[in-house]
């Protein structure tokens, strides 16, 4: 949390309980934060900046959002919802589970590549203590798992669950390493492909996988694949209208 121990008694209202004018005001604040995020990291955006951009008082920002973390969690969620529509227009590529999994992960990575400031927001939210921010972030993460699962076919449900968990872990780590500058975006793509193959090696053994785990030629091919992966991070509801898996995780906290 922040510098002043929390004594505020009024919690942010649930969005659906707001009047139309309030919903508009709340949304304006979120879009203002995204607009500012286009030009600078969240660490450089002050809440007073957001208030000015949204044309509300600073107290109004805190009326709707518990904290800066909470606000940026909603901003990330808004971005993710918008991106769902675009990713639904592009079917996953690949003849094997590994290649399709790699494809969806690399699309997600590519979306962040286009807006690196959001990667830093993810980092922040992963470490956030704010319970409102955490809820929103957890829902997003669960939606990610559902989308990753759609890349997998002909596997038992329990195996799918495990695979997408490992895949999500890999993605998080690669995103982080890129976001903090420890590795290049090309390396991130490469590692995603390699890990996808490793994780699903048992399931794709019978498929026509031309490259092994660690061939230099494979690395070059990966860079090419990254170029052709055009969609964004798929974080929305499953395409069949299924509930996001893991959604109950957020409810237990």
């Amino acid at each position: 949390m922040s510098q002043r121990s929390s004594t505020r008694l009024l919690v942010p209202p649930l969005p659906h309980t707001l009047s139309p004018a309030q919903q508009d005001r709340r949304q304006r604040i979120i879009t203002a934060s995204l607009a500012l995020l286009r030009h600078q990291d969240h660490t450089q955006i002050q809440m007073r900046d957001v208030a000015i951009e949204a044309e509300v008082a600073i107290g109004t920002v805190y009326r709707y959002f518990q904290s800066k973390d909470h606000l940026f969690a909603e901003a990330l969620a808004l971005w993710a919802r918008d991106l769902r529509r675009s990713v639904e227009r592009r079917p996953l590529r690949g003849a094997t589970n590994a290649s399709r999994l790699s494809d969806v992960l690399q699309r997600s990575m590519r979306a962040f590549q286009a807006w690196p400031q959001l990667a830093k927001v993810v980092m922040m939210l992963e470490a956030s203590d704010d319970t409102f921010a955490r809820e929103i972030f957890t829902r997003n993460s669960a939606a990610n798992l559902a989308v990753y699962a759609e890349a997998l076919r002909d596997l038992p449900a329990d195996v799918v669950v495990e695979v997408v968990r490992v895949a999500a872990a890999v993605f998080d780590l690669q995103l982080r390493r890129w976001a903090v500058g420890v590795q290049s975006i090309a390396e991130a793509y490469d590692r995603i492909e390699r890990a996808s193959r490793l994780i699903l090696e048992f399931s794709d053994a019978g498929a026509a996988t031309p490259a092994g785990v660690a061939t230099p030629a494979g690395a070059a091919k990966t860079a090419g694949a990254a170029k052709t992966a055009g969609a964004a991070k798929a974080t929305g509801p499953a395409r069949n209208g299924r509930k996001p898996t893991g959604g109950s995780d957020a409810r237990t906290s």
Copy 2:
């Protein structure tokens, strides 16, 4: 970083360039932060508290450490170095790569279980912008990879690299989910075991692995394994004196 844009010209000196009195003072600050971390989260520890505990002025704390993040990165590193000695006294358990990998990961998890505040420190450091903190944290992460690699036998070097990267990603995610309360410690152990088996399924197919990927009995066994895993997170130099793998990653930033 923090509330005041950084204008300080004097960077923290490298520890080995300090006089004996200064090294003692610096170390006192680090141990003071660890002592305070025994009773509260790092978010509740103020730098003035650390200064008082270490019996130095607040300016002296900032003489040796760039930021609060930097200080707690060194505190974590000190803890990790101490724990190397204890993990070196216990050979890894298991007849297969998956079981040995699971063992070392679960030992690491157990060390955090004994001191949960440190898990929150890891979360913070993963998102930290402070370059000094980042360097120390990156070195630690690289040392982790080296230790995980020692659990793997009879695998090509490039496969080992890939496996330990995925394993580290899984560990990070499980640690985080437990630290923020999204899952229990038992679940974290369980997921570590499952992921280890999944990742290494291709290599352990010929070994005598009695449990499948998702048996309830396996889950119960995992809890037992956690009880017997007594050592801490092995983060130090490789036992054979080998250089930590991935160490060059930190040098490139």
